[in-house]
Symmetry: C2
Subunit: 587 residues, 2 copies
């Protein structure tokens, strides 16, 4: 009995622990590929983790901590071989917004709130994963995500201008940020601004100009691409040297300052129900956004290698990473786009590459902190600005404008609400408008009157094709599932069409496009059947799909249906016309 249970556990384990699958085939070659990728990602991750901690308003070392244990936990529970988990721009901004509502930046409560937020996000993600609710992430449509990310990029870049200018500025939306900056711009510190401007120009150039230059000198393309992403490291080293040489802190340039040397501490999130209640909404939004961002990256990279990602297991992987962050001095994390791409390009083959990155960061945390103390905040702000401006992409506006005004409206709303009212309301507005647009579309379904394409068994819209119709038979094709949102519309539409056609004897609903009929629609159909019956018109169905027919069979509607259910529409027309001819000849 116990043995059986263990065997069962043994079989189920790989499902929940993907590490058991890939570790079996791990060998020296894979190790060396993973290690190479890890070294490159580590170098890139040091300035990034510091920068995103700054963006979240947290002590710099929390960025490093958030990149260590979480990435190891993801390596154990996650399914993507290339995803690099850690602090990312959008989630860090959302963290700042969420914990800014419950505590003052710089206070101990602020740090505890960040840990608690990571804990709640992690718990929520694991819960979704266990309940296999990964499909919920689909409710954010692609255009809405594009709009949200673009707006977030603008917000983040604007929020970092204060570090470039060396002034203070507050605000969680564009008008607040701009007003605050405008108010404080006269306090600009010249040294900070000069250093920030140089860093910005350097970073933009490395990003766009270095790769062509290296390729010009015959450096292989993928090596050149990686080099172009090391810009932040160059900027960091350069400005540390500047700050140290000229003792810039005495000239009012804000530096990171001393940070604790060593491995992540063991921390505890708060278990206060008041704090939980205040943070749970934000935790849910952050989890969903983080998951959507992460799964998109993971799927894109997996597709390139013909691998598959299990969305439900990804929820567990990301959830574990966030729980890890909560207990080791971190803050909410997710799979980042740019570092995952670097990881992939650098040749990472298994999630173990992530674990080696963690070791690299641990070494950095042990030995590099004395140098990092001299790092100007303006440099980090510049790396953030350059990184997030690559997220800003207005092309979605043009694309949706041409394809669908409804999608265009959804993108615009998300963009504007995010910019004007902040990230949380932006996400909520985006989800709501996606749903409303969908419901609006399906609440007024396209209903076509169809006729026979001459010489075929095919029936098409009379408005678009030359087709044969009959006065006594009306064939209506409803191009939508029938459910509560359009049930009443159908009643109206049929009443209207029938009223216009006095000689009518038969209405045939062509159900080829009807994928569900819910209870509301079933009641509407009963109603339609009754009303047509009163007018001496029979109601028939044709081309009803298997799953729909299974459900209809045995309902009152089918029992009371005045007409018949035909497998195909051509047969319906043949038999109904024949009947008519019979009754005519017998009359």
């Amino acid at each position: 009995m116990i043995k059986q249970s263990f065997q069962k556990l043994g079989k189920a384990a790989p499902r929940y622990l993907p590490i058991l699958t890939w570790s079996k085939t791990y060998n020296r070659q894979i190790f060396s590929d993973d290690l190479m990728a890890a070294i490159i990602v580590t170098i890139m991750l040091i300035p990034q983790s510091l920068a995103y901690a700054l963006l979240a308003g947290l002590p710099a070392q929390m960025g490093i901590y958030a990149s260590m244990i979480p990435i190891i936990l993801y390596a154990i529970f996650g399914t993507s071989s290339a995803l690099a988990v850690g602090p990312v721009a959008v989630v860090s901004l959302m963290t700042a917004v969420a914990i800014g509502k419950v505590a003052d930046p710089g206070s101990a409560e602020f740090v505890t709130a960040a840990l608690t937020l990571a804990f709640l996000s992690g718990a929520f993600l694991v819960l979704l994963g266990i309940l296999r609710l990964g499909f919920l992430a689909n409710f954010l449509s692609h255009p809405v995500i594009s709009g949200f990310i673009t707006a977030s990029g603008i917000l983040i870049a604007t929020s970092q201008l204060k570090h470039i200018l060396g002034v203070s500025a507050e605000g969680h939306n564009l008008p607040e940020l701009m007003a605050s900056l405008a108010h404080n711009v006269q306090n600009t510190n010249v040294y900070t601004a000069a250093l920030g401007a140089v860093a910005l120009v350097l970073l933009f150039w490395i990003r766009s100009g270095l790769k062509p230059l290296l390729q010009h000198y015959r450096v292989p393309s993928n090596l050149a691409a990686i080099a172009a992403k090391t810009g932040p490291v160059i900027a960091v080293i350069g400005t540390i040297l500047l700050a140290w040489t000229f003792d810039l802190s005495t000239r009012g340039v804000a530096l990171i300052g001393e940070i604790p040397q060593g491995l992540p501490p063991l921390t505890l999130p708060s278990f206060s129900t008041t704090l939980w209640r205040d943070l749970i909404g934000s935790a849910v939004i952050i989890s969903i956004i983080g998951f959507v961002e992460s799964i998109s990256v993971a799927q894109t990279l997996a597709a390139k290698r013909r691998q598959r990602i299990d969305p439900d297991q990804e929820l567990i992987g990301l959830g574990a990473a966030n729980l890890g962050a909560a207990f080791t001095g971190g803050f909410p994390v997710t799979g980042g786009f740019s570092r995952s791409v670097v990881n992939y390009d650098a040749g990472a083959r298994t999630p173990a590459a992530g674990a080696y990155t963690a070791v690299g960061l641990a070494l950095a945390s042990l030995f590099l902190t004395p140098f990092i103390a001299y790092l100007p905040k303006a440099t980090l702000a510049a790396t953030i600005i350059v990184a997030v401006l690559s997220l800003v992409d207005f092309s979605i506006l043009k694309k949706t404008w041409h394809y669908s005004k409804a999608d265009f409206a959804a993108v615009c709303t998300t963009l504007l609400v995010t910019l004007l009212f902040g990230v949380e309301l932006g996400v909520i507005a985006g989800v709501l408008i996606s749903l409303l647009v969908h419901l609006y579309n399906s609440s007024r379904p396209h209903i076509a009157i169809v006729g026979q394409v001459p010489g075929t068994e095919h029936y098409r819209n009379i408005l678009r094709h030359k087709v044969i119709t009959q006065d006594t038979i009306l064939s209506l094709r409803v191009d939508e599932s029938l459910y509560f949102a359009n049930a009443r519309f159908l009643e109206d539409a049929i009443a209207r069409e029938v009223a216009e056609r006095p000689p009518l004897k038969h209405v045939v609903l062509v159900c080829a496009a009807v994928n569900h009929i819910d209870m509301s629609a079933l009641e509407s159909l009963e109603e339609i059947n009754d009303r047509l019956n009163d007018m001496n018109v029979k109601l028939h169905l044709s081309e009803v799909k298997g799953p729909v027919m299974d459900r209809l069979a045995g309902t009152d509607f089918i029992k009371k249906l005045t007409g018949r259910v035909f497998l195909n529409h051509h047969q319906a027309i043949l038999e109904l016309s024949a009947q008519q001819d019979d009754s005519l000849s017998s009359a």
Copy 2:
């Protein structure tokens, strides 16, 4: 120029003022029919309006006021010839809940809150009507409404038990009400309870036993039906006489007491933004529920006479009625089911019948108030209980259980949330679960592999029919519109099917059931096309509908599509097989 504008106005007016249409053909016969109906409805409405004011926790006369000006305004702006507008049970309960949150029952603020709630509801309804957003009411599915009405009926009946027992009890949900009743039941007033019990028994008997009895004595059926609905009037007159004769108020029986004699006062809702903010959520919910209830009744009655209701104009009619209530001492109103049916059965032919009812109530308000002072509250409570228990109908549980577990879950959730947490959360839960069920269903669409039914041009599911398929061509029929909620599912499903079929050369997506393709799905299709191309498999579409094809034409997806778009699937199979034979014979 001015003349043209007036002409234009003259043409548009009947659209917004239906009275201009039906008043043209008004004559003596219609007048006499309407008058007869009005007399019957007035008699029925007097106890009802008093009772619903009691239910809302408001002074009795407000019920009468709410039945006068609103009904006249509806007669001007509404489109139903039989709808009787005034206070109704569910909306009155929701009013009590909403204004109970901002003021203490009995206070002047409580009355002002009721006026303000009517004002906000009215303004919201008019706004929806002008924006032509009547379709929003469809988002409450039939089963959810059934569940909500049943639960509300139980809540209302329970809330009235205190008047029957002559005790006090508070609470907006079943557990609170029951606990409060249990706590106070020892204070029961024997006289009140006896009177209440007699009234209850009498009313139940009149409702169920009187009609068969009258029919037994050859009274015409519709007259007998109307008589059966006059029960409350008999109970009211009987108990007024009892209370007056035995001076029951001295024995602790609660009476309505003196109410102001005369016509409705001119009142003003509050324009405090704080109060508005506190009430607007409730106003929206009450408006939607009221509108859904009203439009269902109006459409049912209109269908019997082959008339049509304009939902957007109904919003304006109900909105005007509520605005009227706000300025003439009333509270939120809507079209009531039972009185509308009585109005219809009694022969009302135009909305003018409603206006005559208002005149009848005005006379009652002038001359009957001295008598009404002696009316025991227990009588009104009994009429409410008998009326709402007819709303309680659990058959929807059985019906949905057999038809669709998802609809069953929606009904149960709505029922339980309403009973346990009150009406407002009940409605919200109902809407949310309707949406979630719909989205969940369409997020995992049915995808069938189809083959040719031998000897026909018809293609059906290979799992359900004996059909012909080919190794190199995979025909997939997606039974759902493609949109953000299922875009990723489609990518996964196609990847899975293709992976299992090495000899595959062509994938044909049969789009007969695809009614929309949104931007998210379009991007997924591009992705699918690219991935299939990498595997040397061509992607084709067949049976794409006109509106969908219009939109696809000119997109990058169609430009990059590796295969073709076929008008019908049979043609696709013929041509793709022919191609293959060619390539085989040339090989």
